[in-house]
């Protein structure tokens, strides 16, 4: 009996701040790996929902309930305690969290996965009514409440959230002006041709895209609501809503302001290779974590879904005392720009570099393209950038890991094709471009085939 009590006391309490993809993935894996007590704290919503689906709620594609990846019974069944409250202070010396509403919570291990907040660069009027970003459920509620009184919206910042916001407003018949600092949409990430393709597509959707234009000031009316913006060129654009989508930064003010807290922060919470912070028994993952030693070619903060998920999984192992290094391996990402899907695998520089060059094919209608990046000297394939075409993750990953010769890749390209059945297969077109540029005479040897993919992946 005494022994049993002793055992009960020994059950570690793992507390996770944030119920986004990183925190929830960590909680799920802790439950898979152990019997520890797990508590997830969030002030945003009680249940985990997919942040990437916020736009679909607004557009009426999905009911809010459907954005929850797990049914509501899931949490109790897996003994994951949910607390809807806000953490005020993290005391890493007594291992205690002070809460906004509830009693203080003691943790044995703490995981901070509190995500990001939209960037604001000190524009005049940036805190006015009708000025906001799009990150949280509350932001969505904000957009929802301003929409009935919005005829025209201005969106600032040419990234992924900006174009989502424009698409959302378009679905409700609200016109938008889209201010992009760069000369072409998302040109700091996309190579020139792809960037131009998306810029064309934005205009095709009747979104007023202003390239090379920045926000100078937001003007407000007598009620404190945004009424217009002034751009750097001095133009005044009347609007009732201003979307600030110029990137995000870690949402860690509560950590920085905490007393008796030994967690070191720079822009984000600093973590080592095992996702541990500088304070004992405290880990951080996802958008709010800043890697001290990121892998070469990777950024210290990567605020994307996939890295959040991988970090959550890695942190779960480390919190269960199985030391695992965070190693995200090949870079990959995806998005959808209005009607054009985007996938990227591996290294895709925006311009040819010293060692990297590419073969690029674009469909004549200009809504699909494939770019295969390879090493100029060794000819090893480095990356794939796809617009309106779907490629297989595992196949691309294996080619890149094995440093496969680009000509081998091109001849086997059917293996990568993941478009639905009966879709036109463009592989031979890409080979044509390569043959022309490199003066070669390659032919497609492998068409699309699931059986061939399995043989390839199993190394047979």
């Amino acid at each position: 009996m005494a022994q049993q009590e002793n055992k009960v006391q020994q059950v570690e309490h793992i507390v996770i701040i944030g119920n986004g993809i990183s925190g929830v993935t960590a909680a799920r894996y802790v439950r898979k790996l152990s019997d520890k007590k797990v508590t997830i704290i969030s002030s945003e919503t009680k249940h985990f929902f997919s942040r990437t689906a916020l736009m679909y709620i607004y557009m009426g594609h999905m009911p809010a309930e459907d954005t929850k990846p797990y049914e509501d019974w899931f949490w109790a069944k897996n003994r994951l305690n949910l607390i809807q409250d806000h953490v005020q202070n993290v005391n890493t010396r007594t291992q205690t969290l002070s809460m906004y509403k509830g009693e203080p919570i003691h943790y044995d291990k703490l995981l901070i996965a509190c995500g990001s907040k939209p960037n604001k660069y000190g524009w005049p009027g940036q805190d006015a009514e009708g000025v906001q970003g799009l990150y949280s459920m509350q932001d969505l509620e904000g957009m929802e409440s301003y929409s009935p009184t919005t005829k025209h919206a201005v969106i600032v910042g040419g990234g992924l959230i900006g174009i989502e916001m424009a698409e959302m407003f378009a679905s409700r018949g609200i016109t938008t002006t889209f201010l992009v600092r760069e000369k072409s949409y998302w040109s700091n990430v996309l190579p020139a041709e792809e960037s131009e393709m998306i810029s064309r597509h934005i205009l095709e959707h009747h979104i007023d895209l202003r390239l090379g234009t920045e926000l100078k000031e937001i003007l407000t009316d007598s009620n404190g609501r945004a009424r217009a913006v002034v751009t750097t060129s001095g133009e005044e654009i009347a609007c009732q809503f201003v979307g600030l989508t110029a990137g995000v930064s870690p949402n860690i003010d509560f950590v920085k302001n905490s007393k008796e807290c030994d967690i070191d922060c720079k822009k984000g919470i600093l973590v080592n290779d095992f996702l541990a912070t500088t304070a004992p028994n405290v880990f951080a993952v996802g958008d709010c974590a800043e890697l001290m030693n990121p892998e070469p070619s990777r950024r210290p903060i990567e605020a994307i879904w996939y890295t959040g998920r991988m970090m959550g999984e890695t942190a779960a192992y480390n919190m269960c005392d199985k030391r695992v290094k965070y190693s995200p391996k090949m870079w990959f990402n995806s998005a959808k720009f209005l009607d054009i899907e985007y996938q990227v695998y591996g290294e895709v520089p925006t311009k040819p570099t010293e060692h990297a060059t590419a073969v690029y094919w674009e469909q004549p209608e200009g809504r699909k393209s494939v770019r295969i990046v390879f090493n100029k000297n060794t000819k090893a394939v480095l990356g794939f950038n796809l617009m309106g075409v779907r490629y297989r993750h595992e196949v691309c990953e294996k080619w890149i890991q094995d440093q496969t010769h680009v000509e081998e890749v091109l001849q086997q390209l059917g293996l990568a094709n993941f478009d639905p059945e009966f879709f036109t297969e463009y592989e031979s077109k890409i080979i044509e471009v390569y043959n022309k540029e490199q003066n070669r005479n390659l032919e497609l040897k492998q068409k699309r085939s699931l059986s061939a993919v399995w043989r390839f992946l199993k190394g047979k």
Partner: protein, 625 residues
């Protein structure tokens, strides 16, 4: 563009309304000419004798006339019984006094089922109906103009850029569906009311169908009211109005469809004027100016027209997706050729009018005593030296035992369910706007498995008894199984009513706007159950997941018409192998990140078991420990 749509919609609503209002466009009276519809002279005389005030009285509504004929026929029945010498008080139950030359009591007395039949016969005989007299005009106004109107409404969709167009679906009162608890109540009411209809019919009491529909409508309205009342407490987490729940227009549409099906199946005499509108088509196909359409011809024609119009809508919506284009083309082809035209052609050749692409057990008539006798014994036609009836029967067996498993092994269940089947075809065209209403909960999946395999067990037992009955049963429809006597004909009648009519028809289509477009396919179809078992355990088909690209957004699950929680597999990196998947390909189409693909491949390896989305390999764990 906007005006084209408004004009189109106006024209469509005009034609749609005219079609149903035409129920009112006829006048009826009982006289000698009307009685010509009845062949039996004793019965004719009896009806005339007891008609009383009803003789030559004019009725301007066919259902009023139909109701008025019931007591007359009852009186005629009583008259004939007493003339025949039936006297329950003296315990005389068989005719003792028949006119000369009459050997069979049925030629003189009027049985209960004949009373029902005559009520319909008299309603359809000697009608002064505008739609019958001007059937060409009405055909133009209803079907030609209606189709033009619908197309005017749909074609402007081509001006939008190709891509997924789901804006506002969950704000749309037609399309957002109803909450699960309402679904439960709706199902329970339909089952309850259908049992009540049977009971009413047995008692031959009043215009049950009209009342049924009215009661159902009232019930739904009460439910909407109570839902609105309790709404606040139940959904605290709901930004905007994007939510499942109070789709009241959908409820009205569902009630309308349910009412239409109930009348079509059980009271077709009300549709007399509507049926006349398609007479010109029947006459054209049969090349016979006197041909008359039946309720089933009207249904088949309407079904085909609706599928084509909504098929065009589907093709416009998914014109960027060749899988959807070809698949929709395929269901339209099979509906027009095999389901609609082939039975007509067979009918012209005096052959059984069957759809040769419907395998047992969806076609539950195959092993019917009547059907087997018809095909195996009475059909004397030969084609290429073989007996046509026997060929059809053997083809039916081959279809179930060879084609179904073989094709499902190669292509998955989809070869039938979303490429060939008529029910599936309607679900994929007319039902497409409602696909998001299916219930994705684990609970729904549990119910689904009990119900669909339950129906399969029932149909297998029934068919086994039918075959036994044909082989050894003789003339009696009772089979003695040692412990119980089973009346095979009654069993077949009940299956036909509960499953064939109520489940597949009334619930199957009537529930499109309430619970999604695959109610029958998901919960009821025994053929889908068999196809599903093959697909789950031995098939090359699966939906593959593209590595770790899933963002758990849930579009795939929302738009899965079979209520599969596709996301729960995709976010684990797991391939999807589910018995219920009909392979419509919409999950793959709506995925914003290109994660899902329908594929056929070798079955080696652990089909759905591979969870590839784990980023930690166990070797890593060991090395560092």
């Amino acid at each position: 563009m906007k005006y084209t749509k408004i004009i189109g919609l106006t024209i469509f609503i005009f034609s749609f309304t005219l079609f149903f209002v035409s129920i009112l466009f006829s006048s009826h009276r009982l006289n000698d000419k009307t009685l010509e519809g009845i062949e039996n002279e004793y019965h004719r005389a009896a009806i005339k004798q007891v008609a009383g005030a009803e003789w030559e009285k004019e009725y301007d509504l066919n259902f009023k006339f139909h109701e008025a004929m019931k007591p007359v026929l009852k009186r005629a029945q009583v008259l004939q019984d007493s003339l025949a010498g039936i006297n329950p008080e003296k315990n005389i139950w068989n005719a003792v006094n028949l006119p000369e030359g009459v050997t069979d009591e049925g030629e003189y007395r009027i049985w209960d089922d004949i009373v029902k039949k005559y009520a319909a016969t008299l309603t359809e005989s000697n009608v002064t109906s505008i739609t019958a007299n001007r059937s060409g005009l009405f055909f133009f106004l209803v079907f030609v103009l209606g189709t033009i109107g619908a197309l005017l409404y749909l074609l402007p969709g081509l001006k939008k850029l190709p891509g997924i167009k789901h804006d506002g679906i969950f704000f749309n009162q037609f399309q957002k569906g109803i909450i699960p608890i309402l679904e439960m109540v709706a199902v329970a009411s339909v089952i309850g009311i259908s049992l009540w209809v049977v009971w009413q019919n047995e008692n031959n009491n009043g215009p049950a169908y009209v009342r049924t529909t009215l009661i159902f409508t009232a019930l739904i309205l009460v439910l909407i009211g109570s839902y609105e009342y309790f709404k606040e407490g139940r959904m605290p987490w709901k930004p905007g109005t994007s939510s499942v729940g109070n789709g009241w227009l959908g409820m009205l549409l569902g009630t309308f469809l349910i009412g239409f099906y109930v009348i079509l199946y059980f009271a077709p005499q009300y549709l007399y004027n509507c049926i006349r509108i398609v007479d010109p088509v029947k006459q054209f196909i049969r090349n016979d100016p006197d041909a008359r359409a039946s309720q089933w011809f009207l249904y088949g024609f309407l079904y085909t027209v609706v599928m084509f119009v909504m098929g065009i809508r589907m093709m416009i919506k998914y014109r960027h997706n060749r899988y959807q284009l070809i698949r929709t083309g395929s269901v339209l082809f099979f509906q027009l050729s095999f389901a609609f035209m082939l039975p007509e052609i067979l009918g012209m050749l005096n052959q059984p009018e069957i759809n040769l692409t419907t395998p047992w057990p969806l076609d539950y008539d195959l092993y019917d005593h009547y059907n087997m006798t018809n095909l195996l014994e009475e059909n004397k036609t030969t084609f290429l030296g073989m007996n046509v009836g026997v060929m059809m029967f053997v083809w039916g067996i081959i279809l179930t035992l060879v084609i179904v498993p073989l094709f499902t092994y190669i292509y998955g269940k989809r070869w039938y369910c979303s490429w060939v089947c008529g029910c599936g075809g309607l679900a994929e065209t007319l039902g497409d706007p409602f696909r998001q209403e299916s219930d994705k909960s684990l609970r729904a999946w549990r119910i689904e498995r009990y119900v669909i395999y339950g129906v399969l067990v029932v149909v297998v037992l029934m068919s086994a008894l039918q075959i036994y009955h044909y082989a050894f049963g003789g003339d009696s429809s009772e089979i003695n199984l040692g412990i119980v006597d089973i009346n095979v004909l009654n069993l077949r009648k009940w299956y036909g009513f509960m499953i064939g009519s109520m489940f597949a028809g009334v619930v199957g289509t009537g529930f499109y706007p309430l619970m999604g477009n695959r109610m029958w396919c998901r919960y009821g179809c025994p053929l889908a159950a068999i196809l599903g078992i093959v697909q789950r355990f031995k098939s090359r088909f699966r939906i593959t997941t593209n590595g770790g690209q899933c963002i758990s957004c849930g579009n795939c699950s929302t738009y899965c018409e079979m209520g599969i929680d596709v996301r729960s597999y995709a976010q684990k990196g797991q391939d999807i192998v589910r018995a219920s998947c009909v392979g419509c390909g919409v999950c793959s189409a709506v995925c914003p990140r290109g994660v899902l693909r329908l594929e056929n491949g070798d079955t080696d390896g652990e089909r759905a078991l591979d969870i590839r989305n784990i980023h930690i390999q166990m070797e890593d764990v060991k090395i560092l420990n």
